[in-house]
C-alpha cells in the first residue's frame, strides 16, 4: 500500500514540520489485552461502592426497572453503529423509530410537535428559552426557584453568552411556586418566558393554573413547562392542558441507565406556532419516487450545517441511541405499564413518607401533593443524617441545603417501583438510630 501511495514508510507519510513533531512521548495508559481491560474495569467497579448501597436518590436521575428487551433491541449493531440518517434510503429504521419517539413525546406532553431529542433536560430548557427569546425579541426570562438547580445553572451559563437576564420566582411554604407576584412581574412585558417545573425539585406537583398561563401568554410571555421525571407525564395532567406552549425535560426515566449522569436524553415539545424555531433534528414523513411511504430528516435548513451562524442553534448530534432506548421502553411498557409504574411510584413514595415521618423529629417539609419524591425535614443537619446513613450502606437522598441554604435540614428522598418494603424498613431502622442519638445529645 505504501508503494501505491508513493512513500517509503509510514513515518514519511505522516511527517510534519520538525518544530511540530512530538518532543516527549505521550503519557497514556499501557496497552492491555481485552481480558486485562476487563480486570482493570472490574476494579474500577469494585471501587465504586455505591453499587452495594440502598438508594433513595432521585433529583433529576431516576432508578427505574428497564425490561431487558430494551437492551436486547437497542444494542443491535445496526442501531448502535449507525450514523446520523442523512442518507435516508438506508436509514429508514432509525428514521421511523425517531418519528415514533417524536410522536410519543407529543402524546405525553399534549403539544403539537417534538424534535428528535437534545442532550438532556437542562440544555433542553436553555434551548427552549432561546426559542422564546427569538419569538418575542425580549431578553429576560422568569424562572421558578423550584426548577432543578442544575437546570437553572445551565440556563445561566447559556444566558451569560446571550446576555439574557434570568429572574426568579420564589416558592411558597407548601412547596409550590409562588405565583402571587406573577401578574405584577409580567405587567411590564419584559419577559420572553415564564418557566415552572412539575413535579418540581421538591417532588411537588406544581403546574401553573390554566388562567395564570393564559395571562402570561396575553402579556407576550411563552409558558415553558419543565419535566425532570418523565414518568410523571404518564399520570399527571399534560403540560398543554395547563397552558404550557413549550414543554422540555429529561427522558432518562424511559429506558436509560442513570450512568453517573450521562448520556441522558432531553426532549423538546412545542405548539405548532414554534415549529420553525425548534432546534435540532426533525423527522418527517414523505414518499419516495415510487410512492412508497418514507421517513426523512426535514426542515434541515434551520440547522447548523446549512444556516451556519443563522442557525436556530448550534446543536449537531441529538441523543439518537438514548431516544431509541426510550422509544423501545415506551413501546414495551405501553399505556398500561406506564400507568401502573407511575401508580407504584406514587404509592411507594407515600409509604416512604408515612414510614419516615412516623419517627420523632422527622416531618414532611411541604404539604402539597408529590409524585415520586418527598422533602423530609430531619433533626439537625441533613448532611449529618446522610453521613450516618452512608455508614449503613444507605444513600438517603439529596441534601437540599446544597442548593437551597434555607433547607439545610431537609432531605429529598425518592421512591420508585424498585423501592421495596424491605428497603424502607432498613431506612427507617437506620433513621431511628440517628434520631435516638440526636435526642440523646440534647
Amino acid at each position: 500500500m505504501l508503494q501505491a501511495v508513493g512513500v517509503a514508510s509510514l513515518d514519511e507519510l505522516v511527517r510534519v514540520p520538525e518544530a511540530l513533531a512530538l518532543r516527549t512521548p505521550i503519557a497514556v495508559t499501557p496497552q492491555l489485552s481485552e481480558s486485562e481491560i476487563a480486570e482493570r474495569f472490574a476494579r474500577f467497579a469494585a471501587r465504586t461502592t455505591a453499587g452495594g448501597y440502598t438508594s433513595f436518590l432521585g433529583a433529576g436521575a431516576y432508578r427505574h426497572y428497564i425490561p431487558p428487551v430494551v437492551g436486547a433491541l437497542a444494542m443491535r449493531g445496526e442501531f448502535l453503529t449507525a450514523y446520523t440518517p442523512y442518507q435516508a434510503e438506508v436509514s429508514q429504521g432509525y428514521l421511523q423509530a425517531t418519528y415514533e419517539w417524536q410522536s410519543y413525546i407529543t402524546l405525553l406532553t399534549g403539544l403539537d410537535v417534538a424534535n428528535a431529542s437534545v442532550y438532556d433536560g437542562a440544555t433542553a430548557l436553555a434551548e427552549a428559552v432561546i426559542m422564546a427569546v427569538n419569538a418575542s425579541g425580549r431578553k429576560a426570562v422568569l424562572v421558578s426557584r423550584a426548577v432543578h438547580p442544575n437546570y437553572r445553572a445551565v440556563l445561566r451559563t447559556y444566558a451569560e453568552g446571550l446576555e439574557l437576564a434570568v429572574d426568579e420566582l420564589a416558592y411558597r411554604a407548601d412547596g409550590r411556586t409562588d405565583t402571587a407576584s406573577l401578574d405584577a412581574a409580567l405587567a411590564d412585558q419584559r419577559y420572553a418566558a415564564v418557566v415552572v417545573q412539575t413535579p418540581n425539585m421538591f417532588g411537588v406537583i406544581d403546574p401553573l393554573a390554566a388562567a395564570e398561563s393564559a395571562r402570561a401568554a396575553a402579556n407576550g410571555a411563552v409558558v415553558i413547562g419543565v419535566v425532570a421525571e418523565a414518568l410523571s407525564l404518564a399520570a399527571l395532567a399534560t403540560p398543554a392542558s395547563w397552558g404550557a406552549r413549550i414543554c422540555v425535560g429529561e427522558a432518562q426515566s424511559f429506558g436509560n441507565a442513570v450512568a453517573y449522569g450521562g448520556p441522558h436524553v432531553g426532549f423538546i415539545a412545542a405548539g405548532s406556532e414554534h415549529l420553525r424555531r425548534m432546534p435540532g433534528r426533525l423527522v418527517g414523513k414523505s414518499v419516495d419516487g415510487e410512492g412508497r411511504l418514507a421517513y426523512v430528516l426535514t426542515l434541515q435548513a434551520r440547522e447548523q450545517h446549512i444556516r451556519r451562524e443563522k442557525a436556530t442553534s448550534n446543536i449537531c448530534t441529538n441523543q439518537a441511541h438514548c431516544a431509541l432506548c426510550a422509544t423501545i421502553y415506551l413501546a414495551a411498557m405501553g399505556k398500561t405499564g406506564l400507568r401502573d409504574c407511575a401508580a407504584l411510584n406514587i404509592a411507594r413514595t407515600r409509604e416512604l413518607r408515612a414510614a419516615v415521618t412516623a419517627l420523632d423529629g422527622f416531618s414532611a417539609r411541604f404539604a402539597a401533593p408529590v409524585f415520586n419524591e418527598v422533602a423530609i425535614r430531619v433533626p439537625g443537619r441533613a448532611s449529618d443524617v446522610l453521613r450516618a446513613l452512608e455508614d449503613r450502606a444507605i444513600l438517603g437522598g439529596l441534601d437540599l441545603g446544597r442548593f437551597y441554604p434555607e433547607l439545610g435540614d431537609t432531605l429529598l428522598m425518592a421512591a420508585t417501583e424498585l423501592t421495596t418494603g424491605a428497603d424502607i424498613a432498613r431506612l427507617v431502622g437506620a433513621l431511628a438510630e440517628v434520631e435516638t442519638r440526636a435526642a440523646a445529645r440534647i
Partner: protein, 127 residues
C-alpha cells in the same frame, strides 16, 4: 429568462416594481432557481418599518436558506399571504403571484441605488 423590463433589481437578487411611492418586492428567477424548491418564506410584519438593505426576512428551501435584504426602506403596507399556504408559488411565478411584500417608500430616491434589468443581467451572467 431575460430580466423583465420595468423592474429594478438588487445585488441580493430581489426585484422592485415601483408605482409612485409604493414598491412591490420579490425575488428573481435566478434566486428561486438557485434556492431550489421553496418551502417557507418569513415575511416582515404588516406595519413594520424597514431600513434599506436591512435583513428583514428569510426564504427557506429544502437545502438552503437565504436572508431577504430589502432593496428599499419604508413601511410595510401589504404582505402576500398566498405564499404562506403555497410557497411553491415563488418558484412558479417569481415576478407575479410569488411577490413578497409592498412598502410605502420613506425616501423615493432610494430606487437610484438599484440596478436596471441590463445591469442585473450582467451581474448574474458573471456569477
Amino acid at each position: 429568462m431575460a430580466q423583465p423590463a420595468g423592474l429594478l433589481y438588487s445585488k441580493e437578487h430581489e426585484w422592485v416594481k415601483l408605482d409612485g411611492d409604493v414598491a412591490t418586492v420579490g425575488i428573481t428567477d435566478y434566486a428561486q432557481a438557485s434556492l431550489g424548491d421553496i418551502v417557507y418564506v418569513e415575511l416582515p410584519r404588516l406595519g413594520a418599518t424597514l431600513e434599506q438593505f436591512g435583513s428583514i426576512g428569510v426564504v427557506e428551501s429544502v437545502k438552503a436558506v437565504s436572508d431577504i435584504f430589502t432593496p428599499v426602506g419604508g413601511e410595510v403596507i401589504a404582505i402576500n399571504d398566498a405564499i404562506e399556504a403555497d410557497p411553491a408559488l415563488v418558484n412558479r411565478e417569481p415576478y407575479d403571484g410569488g411577490w413578497f411584500y409592498k412598502v410605502k417608500l420613506g425616501d423615493v430616491s432610494q430606487s437610484a441605488e438599484l440596478m436596471s434589468p441590463e445591469q442585473y443581467d450582467r451581474l448574474i451572467s458573471q456569477t
